[in-house]
Symmetry: C3
Subunit: 256 residues, 3 copies
């Protein structure tokens, strides 16, 4: 058994768990494919309002499962297939998901871990979390789509430090650099994320999905603004829009 990506749903929130015992949840090829399947299913579930991604056993994700690498990395076509289909398939499914995503980051968050966290909208870490992509010790560069993702979310200066110096960066520093929204004592991270997710789930769900679609289009940057704007006001007469404004004017809490 080479690791698992598990998912459970409760109260409109999905809890996605990276689990690979004894390897700090390093991502095997099977796990990348499961990641894609999980997020494709979450995206299709219209009853959900958000998702949390966490690792099992006090770590987020230590990177790829290097034990598997000799099987496929030394052949160009297989290497391409791994990065473009397995890895990017999983990350792309996360990025294509309209649900607000929270990363709950404890312990090691390296390589694939940074990439998975970079697909989340909100990132919360414990003080003991450590971030990096020290593949310069493994003799290979970051694949371009993954590098673009990490550079965008962590900043190109941090991406360079991680890739060119194999730097490992502490949680407080990653917060100062804008990658993390909050850093907490390790023992408080899970409860903080739970509260944060539940609060998020009470906000307008259609607005959240529309905001994610817009921000995704803006980040991708390959769609003209006129195309992004074209369908942007279809929510005008929706129940959620009415409820939000009616409740505000009636000075009551909205129920979304």
């Amino acid at each position: 058994m080479s690791g698992q990506v598990r998912c459970s749903v409760a109260d409109g929130l999905a809890w996605v768990t990276l689990a690979h015992a004894g390897k700090f949840n390093a991502m095997s090829r099977a796990m990348w494919r499961q990641l894609k399947a999980v997020f494709t299913a979450l995206q299709a579930d219209t009853g959900l309002r958000g998702a949390v991604v966490a690792g099992e056993g006090g770590h987020f994700c230590a990177g790829g499962d290097i034990a598997e690498y000799p099987d496929f990395r030394f052949d160009e076509a297989q290497l391409r297939d791994f990065h473009e289909n397995d890895v990017w398939g999983g990350l792309q499914a996360m990025l294509a998901c309209d649900l607000p995503l929270i990363a709950q980051i404890e312990g090691n968050c390296m390589g694939a871990g940074v990439e998975i966290a970079s697909c989340c909208d909100i990132r919360v870490a414990g003080q003991g979390a450590r971030f990096g992509a020290p593949i310069a010790r493994l003799g290979f560069p970051m694949a371009p789509r993954e590098a673009q993702l990490v550079a965008r979310e962590a900043g190109v200066a941090t991406a360079r430090e991680m890739l060119l110096e194999a730097a490992v960066v502490a949680a407080d520093e990653m917060r100062a650099r804008g990658f993390l929204n909050a850093v907490l004592p390790d023992a408080e991270v899970a409860a903080h994320v739970q509260t944060r997710a539940q609060r998020m789930a009470r906000l307008a769900p259609q607005a959240a999905r529309l905001n994610k679609q817009t921000l995704r289009a803006l980040c991708a940057g390959n769609e003209p603004m006129d195309a992004v704007v074209a369908g942007a006001y279809r929510y005008a007469d929706s129940a959620e829009h009415h409820e939000g404004i009616d409740a505000f004017l009636a000075k009551r809490q909205p129920v979304f």
Copy 2:
């Protein structure tokens, strides 16, 4: 009377005031149109050297004027007209203005307030200022052009936190995230901005306008660099260019 955008001029500086009593200067449709008219006029005034944007009564701007929303927001065409013409008309006039703009931010800076501040080049806030765009409580998403503006100036991570969590962020935190150039005790903000604006007004005015044109083209990103560069050196033989270099070499203060 549903609020006003006022403007006065003194010593080469324009002072733009958002004023909507009892509503923390929330932007009504009329105010968005006035904002456009004010900045269109400022852009045409070749004698000016900069502008300061502030709110009246200890607040910058609390957002849109929600009392007006039932009149037009629930119809797609009217909603589009509001965002694309009224709101973006005002913001676009600010962005198209070649004058250096300073935002003086006290108290509430929410939604429209963050957007207006995002059109300024320099942002100074009081310690008590609060920033956010909690429209997820009102049941609607941020319009795409506005989201692009806020994500560019406040960073996409902060835009996500504001939009997906309805987060309200303190001034010190917004400074740490790079949105603010300075944070001061509330009582000192106005004087600090005045000094800063006057100092700015003594610098080379043509260079400021050219820098703004260049930075605007770079931020928009839809013009090839060769086109941006094409007219970039026409200032070569200008009086201002001569004066700056002559003064430096003569070890005297330049007079622009």
Copy 3:
């Protein structure tokens, strides 16, 4: 003698020195051309693993050599030639270099200094270093390609503050804004950079060059991702790739 850009090589590392005595290493036209020649040569040297750029005599670089400016700046064609060929020629050669570059920044880092530092991957400064581009006092704007570079690396908010307010920013503040990777007591900068460069030089050199090529393509943003990806996996069967993964699995240090 109007300044020099010197280069020496030792143990796989190049040490590039900006030297213009009595002018805090201000860049003359001759120095810009030397900068281009130096980095063109470094790029062609396949035995190198990185380079450090520093200034002589306790300063990085104070800007351009203003004493030369009356000779050419007041004629549009000559001004264009200076910025597009001399300055951008030097900066472009740095940006086109596949070696990881470390900027060792002490004392004045102004105008051209900020631009040269912006071409480096890792930036380390002494606590006494000061950053700015106060050309608004000299009556001219920043050239577009240079402004794009500085805005990308220092952030557009810092670029605006430097250009529109002639602001001078301290090292600690530039670190908070993400421009610097580390700030040290002035007396410790050189030793810190030496250690850092040597550590970097022991990492996988081919991976570093590939990472630089990818990050350069992403920053330029004018190549479709499919084109960036096209050749991205050719390293699959390389000795370096084998060595990195073999060493990891054998629990030994890789030798690159």
